[in-house]
Symmetry: none
Subunit: 180 residues, 2 copies
Amino acid sequence: MDEGMSGFCIKAASFRGSGGGGGNGNNGTKCGRWNPTTEQVKVLTDLFRSGLRTPSTDQIQKISSQLSFYGKIESKNVFYWFQNHKARERQKRRKVSIDDKDFTRRDQDKISSPKQLNQVSGPARVIETLQLFPVNSFDESEAEKMRFHANEYCKEATAFAYRVGTEMDHPPLDLRLSFL
Amino acid sequence: MDEGMSGFCIKAASFRGSGGGGGNGNNGTKCGRWNPTTEQVKVLTDLFRSGLRTPSTDQIQKISSQLSFYGKIESKNVFYWFQNHKARERQKRRKVSIDDKDFTRRDQDKISSPKQLNQVSGPARVIETLQLFPVNSFDESEAEKMRFHANEYCKEATAFAYRVGTEMDHPPLDLRLSFL
DNA sequence: AAAGTATGAATGAACG
DNA sequence: CGTTCATTCATACTTT
């Protein structure tokens, strides 16, 4: 297809996510955008999982410094990484939650002969246990913005244990584009 | 978490809309990546051609719900579809316009694609929130198609537990993140 | 079957 | 912060 590759250097097919640091030495001829190594990603992920979500400038600096050992990295990369990771956690939760499992119970007219195979709707998305007590273990020296923040989303902590139907019965189809 | 690794499901060589529309026997147990049926693609394309470019979350969910009849689909699939379709439309357009100095003697209007009619270069902003008119092709029932939608933005008072309070998470694990 | 193409998915970067 | 753009990776599909 002869894509663009217009502009900057190209990359030579690196693998990402292949656990165990598959020699993803992005160091070298790498320009354009930051391509984190598996080690870098792991550390960042650990930090995130530990509860870090919006690191301060100082934290970003420290993280960046530590991560620079594994490869080229800048502070802004760390900043963006956390921004994106946090945003996407939320975004994904929103998109994957109410997706399928449509209850469009329209009139049962004609079934024609559609081939609804075993449409496995929703592979039982697991619900991670959310902590109600944010305990920030690190950075107790300059907890600036991390004040009492645990009092904003207290609407309901109900973990809807919705079981995914073992057998999804398909409603008769009647699709119009007027659902928007 | 780790949206990365989407597991690894054994690929089962599925068919996608094997040729002419007819039986796009949606694959049965296919995990890997979403494989849209021809009907799904048609609806999405119609929506796109109607001017929809970046559907909102609500729209995405509605579309996904409607499309779930034709086969397995999730909201994120719809999201990605529009993102990709828009990006690639732009990419193609950008590539065929600038640079490339040679005027090909050949016809510029090759086969192209039947998927470009509107949305040309121009400040004319395409409609973002549009009213869809039925363009169904395999649905002969014309019962309630002319419904006035008015300008009611009733937000579908569905009681979805929506709070996402996944703030801090403090697993008992201990990392060597002492450099912070 | 290999090579090429189309496209779903992921994510860095940045905008508003 | 949520949303959007750009680029890239992975894979389904097509062509040779």
